[in-house]
Amino acid sequence: MSGDHIHPEPTSFLRKHVFSVDHKVIAKQFMWFGLFWLLIGGIMAMLIRWQLAYPGTPMPVFGKLFFSSTGGVIDPASYNTLFTMHGTIMIFLGLTPLMIGCFGNWCIPLMIGARDMIFPLLNMLSFWTVMLGGAVAFYSLFVPLGGSEAGWTGYPTLSTTVANQGTGETLWAVAVFLIGASSIMGGINYMTTVIRLRAPGMRWTDLPLTIWGLFFTAVLNVLFLPVIGSAMILLVLDRVFGTQFYVPASIMAGGGGGDPILYQHLFWIFGHPEVYILILPAWGIVSDLLSFFARKPAFAYRVTVGAMMAVTVLSAVVYGHHMFTTGLSAMLGESFMLLTMIISVPGEILFFNWLHTIWRGSLRMDTPMLFALSVIFVFGLGGLTGLYLATISTDIYLHDTYFVVGHFHLTMAASALFATFGAIYFWFPKMFGRKLNETLGKIHFWGSLVPLTIVFCTMFVSGYAGMPRRYYDHTSADYLKPLQHLNVTTSLAAFTLGIAQLVFAFNFIKSRWWGEKASENPWEVGTLEWTLPTPVPHYNFKEIPNVVCGPHEFSNPAIPDGKDWIYQTEPLAEQPA
């Protein structure tokens, strides 16, 4: 095993901070990368919301900056690029690197007692591949004819040369391919590391639930990112080399014979698991944080793991619910409806396990806990509204309306983001040796939760009223004019949400360098990373720890000295029956 000898820490700046193979450095690289893209994607969201609330009026500040040729007004083509890239950036370059890239890298070796990932060089390659993907995505915005305008789903034939001749769309496909390749490398690394490098004594049931979430995500990444990769290869071939995988005979002179629906299948075979790729680590993190801050064991640990496993399996067989209006056969449609609904069972089990975890706990309302608790609220709203969309006869009306936008933002975006925030507040002291300011953290929390709820709940209302998504200007149709004030409400709440993130940015920068020095275990938690000194040494563990205890033995009467927590390396006085 690679843990048997300690490599010396590199001394050159490049090897130490840039081309590092140390998982902790790579985790921080992923973090800065993800936060940067979250900022870009967030600004795009603000631009989108401005256009929807005040269509055709020049946007202050950003309008002058980005749309000087039109006097600050966002034109329809740029608007399409904005929501396309907002989706692509937030999913592939914001949340994925932050949650999976950063916390996958940070947590897995430290929490399982390993000195690094099992393939450190592959780990570095994974980061630099996503970096390249990000660069290509960024560059695609500035080519002639502009960036991709086909939505983050990139459906042909809108994304083929039939409708779009620019290189922006091609570069978008290349960027998605590269980012996918990076995730596959990460996934292989995470899976293998968890399987091979657990510290002696660490059984599968001693793993923190964060690791379980990341493990299932890694499995999904390895299985389904290749599918989106192949879809993108076919799209690039269609665009650049004149093949017609997605172009039917009826619209291409001289033949064709492809099928645009083929792409939809490929996209959603990947696309639905992608939702769970983002939410499984969030569930894992939340399950741990709730237990850590309620000072109570995670309720029914094995059942939680089983529910997450069930969702992982089900995620692969429900993708058809994205295509209920496409023209699936009746039998396929009904099967996908049933399979999708079944997800509510493991979903409900997770909810009750979380709620039971905090029930009769001793709750410490620190910022990580607030974010973890808010995930129950936000994911509850988002998850339950999924029932309307799983049901074909209601989905027919709601499909491609703002109802869907509200639903998926609450589930995969807001829940994943809030869990990530919880994780940042929680692991920051170990990463940087300082604590994020609690007061600013609480302002950030309430400033995020309240407007966010308003933003997406108003979207439910406008979607229910029939407002289609991806419209440049809803006042163009008579029937939507009376709903315009809902757009204004959503946008004002969205701007508040945006401003609250500045508090976080300020807190992050300030605390990173000038924050209050943190003790080595400020949260009094027993998982392995908190047994280490801060900053964590290059080799993590001088001696590979011997695990003798589960991650959640809080308030166990068998803990000596009147404490309510115990390190995973410390034996309990007596094993509870």
Binding site: P76, N80, Y155, T157, L158, V162, A163, N164, P248, A249, S250, I251, I261, A294, R295, K296, P297, Y301, V303, T325, T326, G327, A330, M341, V345, E348, I349, F352, N353, L355, H356, I358, W359, R360, G361, L363, I376, G380, L384, L387, T391, I392, S393, T394, Y397, T401, Y464, G466, P468, R470, Y471, Y472, S476, A477, Y479, P482, F554, S555, P557, D564
Partner: protein, 282 residues
């Protein structure tokens, strides 16, 4: 419930009950307000009320579920804050009682949330949405829809009742149909994917290039309704809308006669572009 009451002190219950009751009442009132003011326009097709009714059922079911989650979330947040010297209740949740709870709740959720809605939805699909009348059904009104960037081309049979004949009525962005007769669509697209969205009829169906999709509705109300495109189709997606005119039974034959006469007068046998009718797909 007993367990809940015994755990929450009486004072705390009173303290919680008043705001909770107020919240419930205002939620119920505002839900009605939302539907009346900003909800969808009343259904104008025969199967439209099925959507509204199933939507209400799901709202009730998930509303109750969410309320349970909210209570179980808020009670510990208000009651179980950390106090000096007080330890949390130690419980791994592995007792037989806990396992039974999980099993019972799972079965209840599956039956109430899933199976109930599923059965209702399958009924709606088989009796209404997917119960497309066969092409030889007497009285059906066939419409061919050819979508393009950025317009809807409609072809209706004209007086002879046959598609693909010189008296076919071909219109752009305007579709006139009779009330009380099943309107059956054949949809396809010239270029990219579009989606025919008739919000008042509770109907949406994609128009895919290279394939023909089938959909239907029967208008229950006459009047003018909106036609929207629901699938992103490029630059002017947001402007791709039209009007659906549903005429009363008495007015429709006269309209159809005039429209067919105009179509015949303008018919040009050499204009192949205008003759995009296809073999009807069931």
């Amino acid at each position: 419930m007993n367990r809940l009451v015994s755990l929450v002190s009486r004072a705390r219950v009173r303290w919680l009950a008043t705001p909770a009751a107020l919240l419930l009442a205002s939620t119920a009132a505002s839900a009605q307000e939302v539907v009346d003011r900003w909800g969808p326009t009343p259904p104008a097709s025969t199967y439209g009320p099925r959507f509204d009714s199933l939507f209400s059922l799901i709202t009730t079911l998930i509303g109750i579920s969410f309320l349970i989650v909210l209570v179980m979330l808020l009670v510990p947040c208000l009651r179980d804050n950390a106090k000096k010297g007080k330890k949390a209740h130690f419980d791994h949740g592995t007792s037989l009682h806990d396992k039974r709870f999980t099993a019972v709740v799972s079965v209840v959720v599956f039956i109430v949330l899933d199976a109930w809605v599923l059965v209702r939805a399958m009924g709606d699909l088989r009796e209404a949405y997917w119960n497309v009348p066969a092409p030889d059904t007497p009285g059906i009104f066939k419409v061919e829809v050819l979508a393009q960037q950025w317009a809807w081309n409609f072809r209706t049979p004209g007086v002879d009742g046959e598609l693909g004949t010189p008296d076919d009525v071909i219109t752009i962005n305007e579709l006139t149909v009779p009330i009380g007769r099943p309107v059956v669509f054949n949809l396809t697209s010239k270029d990219v994917i579009h989606s025919l969205f008739l919000p008042d009829m509770r109907l949406k169906r994609d128009a895919n290039p290279g394939a023909i999709n089938v959909a239907w509705f029967e208008a229950a109300k006459s009047g003018d309704f909106d036609i929207l495109c629901a699938e992103l189709c490029g630059y002017a997606h947001y402007q791709m809308h039209g009007k659906l005119h549903v005429l009363p039974e008495a007015d429709f034959p006269a309209w159809e006669k005039d429209a067919s006469a105009l179509a015949l007068a303008a018919y040009d046998a050499n204009d192949t572009e205008a003759r995009w009718a296809w073999d009807w797909k069931e």
